[in-house]
């Protein structure tokens, strides 16, 4: 209860601190300030907005590990993330960490089995502006996303194979399209007999696609369970194998960002991420559909 209260309070403070009035988007001001030729490179770099992003949401996930079961385990787990990123008109970079946790299950033929699921992901991304679609007001950036993540799964129905752990490291090529959809002029509207005013709003809509270029996995060996326990040398990654260039990963992301007057922002995102191993006899497949709300704290304010 206390935690819920704290979260709500943080959100309210974040949204309403400072003036409620919407001012010109900070991204716009950034563009202008970049044009100031009198500033040194260091000063310009300092002015690039930097954010701490705290996100939370739900992840509709599903996975299938053919090494232990041909059945798909699915369900909704919680998702939290923390990242730091720099964002300018010309480039952006993000370093972040996310954690998903909950339970995924399969219920087929009157047989219910459940798998505790935890995923930790570390990612780094860098994007650079392309001179593409500028005519229609779309900012296009090209770059990469480096992702490393590990899954921990515990499914007692699988007996000695109950504990599943796998790690993946991927380098993905990325392209991102951002459209400024701000309402720059206030509008008077009327609904039936009610008159209301739509104020100026600074907001962006962005869509990003990532395609796996180098995909690697560190997974169980042929027999799945290792024999270290009966060798009297128990170890964690028992009989694991590293595979590179044997997998596929795609992800996409749609962000709606509302820039606030205090230069902070709120972002609503839908993230789709899917990957599958290839080349080994027991494939692994997993997909995530994440909807999350992210609070972006502009650290230039500090």
């Amino acid at each position: 209860m206390k935690q819920k209260g704290f979260t709500l309070l943080t959100l309210l403070l974040f949204l309403f601190i400072g003036e409620v009035k919407i001012v010109q988007a900070q991204s716009e001001s950034m563009r202008k300030s970049n044009d100031e030729t009198t500033l040194t490179r260091k000063e310009l770099r300092k002015q690039i907005p930097k954010f701490i992003a705290i996100g939370f949401g739900t992840n509709n996930a599903q996975f299938r590990d053919f090494a232990t079961s041909p059945l798909i385990y699915s369900g909704r787990v919680l998702h939290i993330s923390l990242s730091r990123f720099k964002l300018s008109n010309k480039r952006e970079a993000e370093l972040g960490l996310s954690y998903d946790f909950g339970s995924l299950s399969n219920n087929y033929n009157s047989t219910f089995s459940s798998s505790d699921f935890k995923r930790v992901e570390l990612y780094y991304s860098k994007l650079y502006k392309l001179k593409l679609f500028e005519a229609i007001g779309v900012n296009t950036k090209l770059g990469f996303l480096l992702v490393g993540n590990g899954n921990i799964r515990i499914n007692n129905a699988l007996q000695n194979n109950a504990f599943g752990i796998e790690t993946f490291a991927n380098l993905l090529g990325s392209i991102k399209f951002t459209k400024d959809i701000s309402r720059k002029i206030a509008k008077e509207k009327k609904f039936l007999f009610i008159k209301y005013k739509l104020k100026e709003k600074s907001r962006d809509l962005a869509f990003r696609i990532n395609l796996g270029l180098i995909n690697s996995s560190y997974r169980n060996g042929y027999a799945y369970i290792g024999q270290s326990a009966i060798l009297n040398e128990p170890k964690f990654f028992d009989d694991y194998e590293y595979n590179i260039f044997e997998g596929l990963r795609f992800s996409s992301r749609l962000d709606y960002t509302r820039n606030l007057s205090n230069k902070n922002a709120v972002q609503l995102s839908y993230i789709w991420d899917a990957y599958a191993t290839r080349g080994d006899s027991d494939k692994f497949e997993i997909a995530h559909h994440i909807i999350k709300l992210t609070l972006l704290f502009n650290t230039n304010n500090l």
Binding site: R64, F66, A67, T68, S69, P70, L71, I72, N106, Y108, N109, S110, T111, S113, I136, G137, V138, A157, L158, Q159, N160, N161, A162, F177, K179, I181, L205, F207, I209, G221, Y222, A223, Y224, I225, G226, Q227, A229, I230, L231, N232, P234, D239, L248, F250, S252, L254, Y270, W272, A274, Y275, A276, S281, K283, E285, A287, H289
Partner: protein, 336 residues
């Protein structure tokens, strides 16, 4: 223009997630079809089961025999009996099929006669005043010259405190009896905790190898398994380990290891085997299965003890006299 762009983006997201995920993942495998489930289980065993050659099992012939029993529309119960029957051909109690209405097993302990009755031991040897320390039940035998320790299951409960107490109590005896009869196994960590108190230096006790390919003889190199002796608190006199057909899995690992330890002697009946580490998995219809995927090898690298670790001294109980445990009697005379 802004609206068009927005909707175009939403459209791209929808299309990319749906189509890419379909392309990336394999088709749905969940099925209650008897033929699909039979073939899945047969192939999993064919690729990963460890003891076809040791047990001289013609797995193709087993497929032919049991697939003939399948028919469209058969009940779940009938399918379970066919699949469970097929697994029982592996003659391995580490091999089971589990559904919400039944569990299949081979029942290796029924291959020999029953050789253990706790009541005979309490009534005629250790009395009801025996100690219970952790997983052990124990007391003195034969005028305090021999210690008897009953260890009924490898629960992972052996620790420094409880085993120290037991060994300290019998430190001045001529010999110790560890009774593993009808011990069906459990946590393999207990095997090494137990054995480490009966050796004075690091000892190679067996080898183990794991399946690493689909061929019936595709295994890793044999890995040596050693037990490190603790710095002190070891029992130095002779130890008799009692076994029967119900001594299985971790019980058989312990029995196998006694062959490499000079002051330990195995008395009773051949163990049930179970020297392969079992895996676990699910069929397309959700039922669960397991079977052995490793082989434990003797010091001369033979996997044959999977069929049971033979005792050094074979003795069976004579059930015509319920006041006497012949296996225990033989152990007492061996330790005198």
């Amino acid at each position: 223009m802004y609206s068009i762009t927005k909707y175009l983006m939403l459209f791209m997201v929808t299309i990319s997630t749906v189509t890419c995920e379909k392309a990336l993942f394999e088709e749905e495998f969940a099925s209650t079809d008897p033929f699909v489930n039979f073939n899945y289980l047969w192939e999993e065993c064919d690729k990963k089961y460890a003891y076809f050659s040791v047990k001289n099992i013609d797995w193709d012939a087993v497929k032919e025999e049991y697939s003939a029993k399948l028919f469209k529309g058969m009940t779940q119960d009938s399918l379970f009996n066919v699949l469970g029957g097929m697994l029982s051909e592996l003659r391995d109690d580490h091999t089971n099929l589990l559904s919400d209405f039944n569990i299949s097993s081979f029942g290796v302990k029924y291959l020999g006669q029953d050789n253990f009755d706790w009541r005979i031991i309490v009534d005629n040897y250790i009395t009801q005043d025996f100690y219970r320390t952790g997983p052990f039940s124990h007391n003195f035998l034969d005028n305090g010259e021999i210690g008897y320790v009953r260890f009924p299951a490898f629960t992972g409960g052996i620790n420094g405190e409880n085993f120290d107490f037991v060994l300290n109590r019998y430190k001045d005896t001529k010999g110790l009896i560890i009774d593993l009869r009808e011990n069906g196994g459990g946590a393999v960590t207990d095997v090494f905790s137990l054995l480490s108190r009966f050796i004075s230096s690091e000892t190679l006790v067996y080898f183990s190898r794991i399946k690493n390919g689909p061929g019936h003889e595709d295994f890793s190199e044999p890995f040596p398994v050693t037990v490190a002796a603790p710095s002190d608190k070891i029992y130095k006199n002779k130890v008799a380990v009692l076994t029967d057909r119900g001594t299985y899995s971790a019980g058989s690992f312990t029995s196998l290891a006694t062959k490499a330890i000079p002051n330990m002697v195995l008395i009773g009946d051949t163990t049930g085997g179970g020297l392969g580490l079992p895996n676990g998995g699910q069929l397309p219809n959700g039922w669960e299965y397991r079977f052995s995927i490793t082989q434990a090898l003797t010091l001369d690298k033979s996997p044959d003890f999977e069929n049971g670790v033979p005792p050094d001294i074979r003795v069976l109980i004579d059930w015509s006299d319920l006041t006497k445990d012949e296996i225990l009697e033989r152990a007492i005379s061996e330790l005198q």
